[in-house]
């Protein structure tokens, strides 16, 4: 039987490098596409990935299995670090509005319905996000993958802030249900 993720983290906390290698093999393929989708550049994504796993090694003793799965622990960290990376890049190119818009547009284009359908046709698993209604998927995209705050999303979509907040909440609830019903 495979060692549980939580057990691997516990072994890492005791300084076990082999456990770290196993942990990496298990979770890097999960968080790497997330990081890549946020930062878009493969070299940047590789940097962020290393940062995230280095932190996991350093802080393994702080992981509390009663507070969440190792997967959520890593995904949360990876998303935060990737967003930090694009925010610092955006700050550097603050005066160039166009690249920012392009980046967001690219983020939005990626999981377009036809792309999802193509993926399905190829026999790959349709991601949970693709199963959300368009408006809900959009707010998740903008918040989670593009790092916009709810105020920024409202401005971008030209929607009242209250609408955006409701949409975010519904989208999360829907995602949870999708997760429960998916195989």
């Amino acid at each position: 039987m495979a060692t549980s993720g939580a057990e691997l983290v516990r072994q890492m906390a005791a300084g076990d490098r082999e456990a770290f290698a196993l942990f990496y093999d298990r979770y890097a393929p999960v968080v790497f596409p997330l990081i890549l989708r946020i930062v878009r550049e493969r070299a940047d994504a590789s940097d962020v990935l290393q940062e995230v796993f280095w932190e996991a090694w350093r802080t393994a003793d702080a992981y509390d299995p009663t507070r969440g799965s190792p997967e959520a622990w890593m995904v949360t960290r990876a998303r935060t670090r990737a967003i930090d990376r694009i925010r610092s890049t955006r700050r550097r190119s603050e005066m160039f509005v166009a690249p920012l818009d392009e980046a967001i547009a690219a983020t939005l284009e990626q999981p377009a319905p036809d792309a999802a359908e193509r993926a399905e046709n190829r026999g790959t698993i349709r991601s949970a996000l693709d199963r959300l209604p368009g408006a809900q998927r959009e707010v998740i995209e903008l918040a989670y993958y593009a790092g916009l705050t709810q105020t920024e999303i409202a401005e971008r979509l030209k929607q009242p802030l209250g609408t955006v907040k409701t949409r975010i909440r519904l989208a999360l609830e829907r995602l949870r249900d999708v997760g429960r019903t998916s195989p």
């Binding site: 890097a28 994504a45 991601s127 918040a143 975010i168």
Partner: protein, 261 residues
Amino acid sequence: MTHEPYDTQAASYALGALDGEERTEFERHLAGGCAVCEAALRASAETLAAMVRSGPPMVPPPEAKEALLRRIATTTPPQRAAAPPRTLVWAVGMLVAMIAAAAFTGAFVAARYEGRLGQMAREAAALRERVQRDEAALRQQIALYRSVVDLLRDPQTRIVTLHGLGANSQATGRIIWHPVNGGHVLVANLPSAPAGKAYELWTIADAAPQPVGVFQVDASGRGTHRIPPLEGGKPVKVFAVTLEPEDGVPEPTGPMVLASK
């Protein structure tokens, strides 16, 4: 009882989208300890992790893993206590430890850290003293070099060579001499003076040798001594160094080790 607006805020917060005053408000609410929101945030983190996992996996570039493994191999594994067993034994042990700790911590911490603080204070004081000593020595040296350079700049300054005598034939010396301002003697290859003895420098003008100071040489056989100007600025014919009692004597009594001419 309604839990709004926190449920809605928790959703935005989980997505990292809560901003402005709402974020401050929500974080204050969280800090106050809200089990409902904490549970909601944990559930959202799992939901988002499941969403991420539901996409196709992608193997990262192999260099990333290699670099990481190299990095953790070259660092000392973090020193951590062994993970605690998750049983009642642990809880009981913890309780006992806490009680014991409460009793002993104060005394232990005080003893341990006062000792260490005291040691650190002593080390700091010793260091400060050493720095001050070094600084004083450096200042003295700089003053000496300045004075030598000033003398060398003066056209009236002479350089007199001293030759080793007898058993000290390998010893050498120079006198930088100014008839009005005095000068310096610099010697090399002189053995350290025996205990209770020192080298004494003499000037011979027209009559008896005049004592112009005693000096010691360091482990490398070198010594330097400032020579005060002679009264009346009489021209010096001969400089000589003899081995004498360490406080110096008015007339030479010991063997001559260096002399000009």
